[in-house]
């Protein structure tokens, strides 16, 4: 990343490549061993996190996982019980919110009801004591950015939900913060608007290059928006990675389940290879060599997960060494047009879910209820889940 000259409109400052894998890169936001304890509960438990310049970083978790508290500590509304927070190498832990180079878009948008759209956007600039002409110029720039130029004089109660969201966004960006925090930015919008806004948000971030930290409970939102996702539960991060990493290589059952469906088999470790572990599935006795980068001691109880779309369903056994194969009977099926979801009872008696693309054009179902089928998956697609 290079700092572009301020006068030149940067083409794109947003995060390129994978700085988190590059050891020469210094993180832009450093959260070091931060905890927040309230009288009767620990909301954030010894959390450390590095976020790089220009990232669109998402913190994902259910309600009460501590994600909002973490965001509020970044904004300065809650002092951490312990730990430090750095932004751009400056310790901001003890800095009040009005001095931090951070702005936030609130879940309720918090658009000031007694001020017009333009006054809302100008508020932060006035507090910065910028010259009147400059304020005017920046407000106009922001109005254009969020396409609200015609609404400058409106009061918030004359705006739609989506427009209010854009006012909140423009207001927070007007101060050109180093970091923009977004608390459930799309939760208050209806489904259609949400999808559209999602792309607008990504484009905007790409154009401005501001580091975004988004908090959300919606895994779809997190997947589509984020450069990286941190999954949070009970005050700690359980996994941090790109959307692809957390989806394809979930570290445990909880993460796997959070991002869509997964079939889980109980298994016992029987050996370790190079980058692999050999396990035996409890119910069928099938032996699998699954990819895993750490050795697990023999005899450990683990789980093997396979996503429904990784499973192949067929009436004949596939050939090839890489496949793990099991047999079963179609017990239930659901036709979605573009794909079918089958619930297959395997010969060991458990239900396995399969999602298959309908790549052939046929009005008739390829498989019917009670059909005998083979289920198979590429062993590379098996995920070792701890716990």
């Amino acid at each position: 990343m290079t700092d572009t000259d301020k006068n030149n409109e940067p083409i794109s400052q947003s995060c390129q490549g994978t700085p988190w894998k590059d050891e020469t890169q210094t993180p832009f936001i450093k959260i070091i061993e931060v905890s927040k304890r309230f009288e009767d509960a620990t909301a954030v438990d010894n959390v450390s996190l590095d976020i790089y310049r220009g990232e669109l970083f998402t913190i994902l978790g259910g309600s009460g996982c501590g994600k909002s508290t973490l965001l509020r500590m970044l904004a300065g509304f809650e002092p951490p019980t312990s730990g430090r927070i750095f932004i751009d190498d400056v310790d901001i832990t003890d800095m009040p919110p009005y001095e931090r180079p951070i702005n936030m878009m609130f879940q309720s948008y918090a658009v000031f009801p007694h001020m017009s759209v333009a006054q809302n956007i100008a508020y932060g600039l006035k507090k910065e004591k910028l010259a009147k002409a400059e304020i005017k110029e920046r407000v106009e720039e922001m109005l254009e950015l969020v396409q609200l130029t015609d609404f400058a004089k409106r009061k918030p109660d004359q705006l739609s939900g989506g427009q209010r969201q854009r006012v909140a966004l423009a207001r927070a960006l007007a101060k050109r913060p180093k970091v923009l925090l977004l608390d459930e930015p799309l939760a208050a919008l209806d489904k259609k608007l949400r999808e559209q806004t999602q792309f607008e948000l990504m484009n905007l971030q790409d154009r401005l290059g501001t580091t975004f930290v988004v908090v959300t409970h919606d895994q779809e939102e997190a997947m589509t928006l984020a450069t990286r996702i941190a999954v949070m539960k009970e005050g700690s991060f359980i996994q941090t990675g790109t959307p692809g990493e957390v989806y394809e290589f979930p570290c445990n059952h909880y993460v796997a389940d959070f991002f869509g469906n997964i079939n889980v088999f109980d298994a016992t470790v029987i050996g370790n290879g190079e980058g692999t572990v050999e396990v035996e599935l409890d119910t069928s006795g099938t032996r699998i060599i699954a990819p895993h980068h750490e050795a697990i001691s023999e005899g450990s109880r683990i789980q093997i997960g396979v996503r429904p779309e990784k499973l192949l369903i067929s009436t004949e056994a596939p050939t090839g060494e890489q496949y793990t194969i099991t047999r079963g009977v179609v017990e239930d099926l659901a036709y979605y047009g573009n794909r079918c979801v089958y619930r297959v009872r395997s010969h060991t008696g458990r239900i396995i879910q399969v999602s298959a693309q309908n790549y052939q054009r046929s009005a008739e179902l390829l498989l019917e209820w009670d059909d005998e089928v083979y289920l198979s998956w590429d062993t590379q697609c098996s995920v070792v889940l701890s716990e």
Binding site: G76, F77, E78, P79, T93, D94, M95, P96, P97
Partner: protein
């Protein structure tokens, strides 16, 4: 708002003044006066300016000596007038509260069941008297209750009585005055709880075979309890120390404690005794006041 980690001096000054200004005002003009009342209640009355003895005196050997005395409190116990006054105040306040409840509950219930916009209009009519002068409204009852007042004239007219009965300057007038003045304070909290009460619950209970009276006892009454308690305290507490109503409508024997205190202070100029009367009244009120405050704080938590 959350408290910021490390505010600057300017911001701390602002915060301190927001707290300190009303705090100091109330400390000086509300809390301190009670200490003074208590102090004077321990003094002896003097014919002097001010008409009470100092709390500290110089003893014969030149040391400071505490002159506090419990004489005033002992006197209050001995003289029948005072504890009759206290008991009578409690009795009048209790009965008035009950009367307010008996009249206010059906009124609040009827308002809660009236459809909008009539409901708002009725509420406005309940609140309206509160904004008009309390003193003038009490005075209106002098016109109503006098020997030649409207009520006596009416009763004479329909022949229930043959000669005017004494209403004004009796306890009955005091009861009427208190109920009249404090009725809105009973209706409003009752209405707030009854408004939330789901009428479907009644239908459900009735549907399950509940007799109307049982439905009322098992569903309505328990759910309206917070309103009943709040309303009762809002009537009972000020009624106990009421001065204007017994002074204007009551007879010479309607000695409520507020009036006794007033007379003791202004007529007899016995400040220490008046202070002792006030101190004891405050003690009687502490329990209901604390109960009321707890009720006020509960919904906020």
């Amino acid at each position: 708002m959350s408290i910021i980690a490390n505010p600057g001096n300017r911001d701390r000054l602002w915060r301190s003044s927001v707290i300190a200004l009303p705090y100091l005002w109330l400390g000086l003009f509300f809390l301190a006066p009670f200490a003074i009342v208590f102090k004077i209640s321990l003094a002896e009355p003097l014919i002097a300016q001010p008409p009470f003895s100092p709390l500290w005196g110089i003893a014969e050997d030149g040391t400071r000596k505490l002159l506090a005395t419990l004489d005033n409190y002992l006197f209050l116990l001995e003289d029948k007038l005072y504890w009759v006054s206290y008991l009578k105040s409690i009795k009048i306040a209790l009965i008035s509260t009950l009367l307010c409840l008996l009249l206010g509950f059906p009124m609040a219930y009827a308002i809660a069941r009236t459809p909008q916009p009539w409901r708002n209009l009725l509420l406005l009519l309940v609140i309206l008297p509160f904004w008009t002068s309390f003193l003038l409204r009490v005075y209106a009852w002098i016109i109503m209750l006098g020997k030649e007042g409207l009520i006596n004239n009416g009763l004479l007219g329909i022949g229930i009585i043959n000669e005017p009965i004494s209403l004004l300057y009796t306890d009955v007038a005091v009861y009427i005055g208190i109920v009249y003045t404090y009725l809105p304070f009973m209706i409003l909290p009752l209405y707030t709880t009854l408004e939330k009460l789901d009428l479907d619950l009644h239908d459900a209970a009735a549907d399950l075979g509940g007799k109307p009276l049982h439905v009322f006892r098992d569903i309505t009454l328990p759910m309206a309890m917070p309103g009943i308690i709040a309303g009762s305290l809002l009537v009972f507490i000020p009624a106990l120390g009421e001065f204007v109503i017994p002074a204007l409508l009551g007879g010479l024997d309607s000695l409520m404690i507020g009036r006794t205190l007033y007379d003791e202070f202004f007529m007899n100029r016995d400040w220490p005794l008046a202070s002792a009367v006030a101190t004891i009244l405050l003690f009687i009120l502490i329990l209901p006041i604390m109960l009321f405050q707890r009720l006020q704080q509960e919904p906020q938590q």
